[in-house]
């Protein structure tokens, strides 16, 4: 038990550590393999293969876990999965341990249907697996809401202490400095739709109140995939049939894997090898043995339901594409570097949120419905919140599926994300007759994509002033958005990046 807990905590903290390490730390190439967990995710490999995108070799690491599952069973869920550990932790803190209500058992099949639906959809290039993949779900939740909230909370505490001044700062400032150097974000982070994201995360946690590990037993598509593999596992738990006299393990098992009246017998597909039953069996009857030929209980998913799930997944493809955005992407929907074609991008992106985490300017933001229904949580650049840093390609380094392709810096610097345009009805120079040129000053390309011509504009007093009127040279502009970010006009900037003209073919 101690070993399992240790393993859970180890992987959980590794997950968090890799999260923190997905950050610029003085080197152009990240020192840590921050997408490690995603490389070992066979669900992502499955959709990568099904969407017929070019193969991402790093995802082949997940075959290691596929192999281990064929030997050991669904150990991932009980020993590795940071989402499972999170749920165990929340249950330990928030909910009383109580016997199963049986709800999760009744919902057990849903995760398989979800998996089949997602895979069928992936066959038609609708890649929604990331919305339900537990690693993506957890990473995304931490990125968008939990980590910024932690940062904001600690920052405001430190600021309060700082305002109080001495002697409190003798303690608070060194502590703050330490936190700043270790876990706090470099600057306060802001992401769109935090409450919605928090809501989804809370929902998954709240399901623990119904039954233990409800998410894992009833909904998790990765759990379902491992479950299907675990049916062939070499390591078996005996006895398969429940003993008639005791039934303790039935109550003990948090996965409902030991079986009940409707599903008698030990279910390899559900057992996450926590080994609690082995430790607690009062009569020492439980054992885990290699290669037993004892008959496994059926995994009865129902032919009709499976067909329905597959059909629903396939039907999803035309349905989600019916929106108008499928015909013409929203004008201000700026994608990360190299992700110009929406169709290729959608087929690959698993919405894990790593690019949003690593973006040093906090400019990569989650999409709600601006890209259509299947664009939920795909990354977009919102230049007003953060621009694309000219000499940075970190997002392409962390993307586990190549949705943001790995690109040399020179290639990235010459691949336009969009094109800036000036709104003369808002621009200070055109409206007020005073020089500004902040956009021109910051433009990072050489020669600058924003130039100026002398022109005459009347100021508020009616006086004709000779001013420097900024103009965008579209052929030079790479759409990094620093002009939009720094524009001193309040609200929407007077210079904005739009995607048409040069991004789409």
């Amino acid at each position: 038990m101690v070993i399992r807990r240790a393993s859970q905590l180890l992987f959980f903290f590794l997950f968090l550590l890799l999260f923190l390490k997905a950050e610029y730390a003085g080197q152009e190439v990240l020192a840590w393999p921050v997408d490690l967990f995603f490389r070992f995710d066979p669900l992502l490999l499955a959709v990568n293969l099904l969407t017929r995108s070019s193969l991402v070799y790093a995802l082949l690491w997940s075959l290691v876990f596929v192999g281990l599952t064929l030997i050991l069973g669904r150990f991932f869920c009980g020993w590795v999965c940071p989402m499972g550990t999170t749920l165990d932790g929340f249950r330990y803190v928030l909910f009383k341990n109580r016997p199963d209500q049986g709800v999760a058992d009744r919902w057990r099949r849903v995760k398989y249907y979800l998996l089949f639906g997602l895979l069928a959809g992936a066959g038609f290039s609708v890649n929604l697996a990331g919305l339900f993949d537990p690693l993506c779900l957890l990473y995304r939740s931490i990125t968008i809401v939990l980590y910024p909230a932690l940062g904001y909370g600690l920052e405001s505490l430190a600021t309060q202490a700082y305002r109080w001044g001495k002697p409190l700062t003798y303690i608070s400032e060194p502590l703050y400095g330490f936190l700043k150097a270790t876990i706090l974000p470099f600057k306060p982070l802001v992401y769109l739709m935090p409450i919605f994201t928090l809501g989804l995360f809370v929902l998954v946690v709240a399901l623990e109140a119904i039954d233990r590990r409800f998410w894992c037993r009833a909904l998790c598509p990765l759990g379902a995939l491992y479950g299907l593999l675990a049916r062939f596992a070499v390591l078996r738990r005996l006895p398969v049939k429940n003993c008639p006299d005791c039934g303790d393990c039935q109550k003990l098992c948090k996965m409902g894997a030991v079986g009940n009246e409707s599903n008698p017998g030990h279910q390899s597909a559900e057992c996450q090898l926590c080994l609690n039953c082995l430790a607690h069996c009062p009569n020492n009857r439980v054992s885990f043995v290699w290669g037993s030929r004892a008959k496994r209980p059926e995994l009865d998913l129902g032919r009709r339901q499976v067909v329905l799930a597959l059909g629903a997944g396939i039907a999803l493809a035309p349905l989600v594409r019916l929106g108008s955005v499928a015909r013409r992407p929203e004008e201000f929907l700026i994608r990360p570097p190299g992700a110009a074609s929406e169709a290729d991008f959608f087929a690959r992106c698993v919405r894990c949120g790593q690019c949003m985490k690593v973006c040093p300017t906090n400019g990569l933001q989650p999409t709600l419905w601006e890209a259509g229904l299947d664009g939920l949580y795909t990354p977009r650049l919102v230049p007003r919140l953060g621009y694309c840093e000219y000499a940075c390609n970190l997002c392409s380094q962390v993307c586990p599926t190549g949705a943001i392709p790995a690109m040399d810096l020179e290639v990235k610097q010459s691949s336009p994300l969009g094109t800036a345009f000036i709104d003369p009805s808002r621009c200070i120079v055109y409206t007020e007759g005073h020089d500004c040129l902040v956009c021109e000053e910051h433009c990072p390309v050489a020669p600058k994509a924003i130039i100026f011509h002398d022109g005459q504009v009347r100021d508020a007093n009616g006086q004709l002033n000779t001013v420097k009127l900024p103009v965008v040279v579209a052929d030079r502009c790479i759409g990094c958005g620093i002009c939009e970010n720094k524009c001193p006009v309040g609200g929407a900037a007077a210079i904005r990046v739009k995607r048409s003209l040069r991004v789409e073919i």
Partner: protein, 306 residues
Amino acid sequence: MQRREFLKQVAALGVLAGAGRILTMPAELLAMVPKEKPSPTLARATGTNYAHLVGDSIQALGGMKKFVNAGEIIVVKPNIAFDRPPEMAATTNPIVVRKVVELCLEAGAKKVKVLDRTCHDARRTYVNSGIKAAVEGIKDKRAVVEFVDERRFVELDIEGAKALKRWSFYQDILEADRFINIAIAKTHSEAKLTLTMKNMMGAIGGWRGRIHVGLQQNIADMNLVLRPDLHILDATRILTQNGPTGGKLEYVKVKNQVIAGTDPVALDAYGTTLFGMQPQDIGHIVKAHELGLGEMDLKNIKMLGA
């Protein structure tokens, strides 16, 4: 009764803490204004050993000991605004920064803080400008490269300002015993040139884009508050085109010069000549001169050194 007692105690503690805060609050420091009018005497050094240029120019002014006393806290403010390698001349030459810090340490400074409020991500600019490595390479605990802490900006009324009546400034700079400005000479479309006075943009807080309307006067006004004890103009390399960001080596001109002085207007007036311009071409030089910040007539500026 217990609750009332508790509330009373809380109130009493609150009053005490409030009083303590007023007592310990640093007086707003306009003490930066030097007692004497800065002299329009500049010192220039020319050559290819950039560390020597710094040493020679400061020596010509009387040596660093004239500006820095033992036990003092110094803030050094180079230009670290942009994420560019040093050879692009968008940021102050790291060799120059390092030498200035070393001289401060030799003069007995208790602490030397190097900082700038950057335009690009500060983590990147500090590293890629080479300045972080250069200062940390001294391996002296008294020399630190710090990121700007957004909590430490304080708003001040600017006495005598014509346009920028109130703005926020970095507290560490206001409170430091000495403040040293190391600017790089670059072109800048709106300000025309960015020399020592424009470099003070990195010492102020707030939404800086907002003060680009009427920039020339605003630059002059902020220099009423920010009065470095020593200005150094890094003209080892200057950026002649596409400023202030640059981005191509062909925009960079190697000048092999370092100029030091206490009068920023005089220094900037000389700086214009590096670009073949005249002091009166640059709005903020004229406006700073009008505010009495220094001498802009090249004839009245005395140049020491080679």
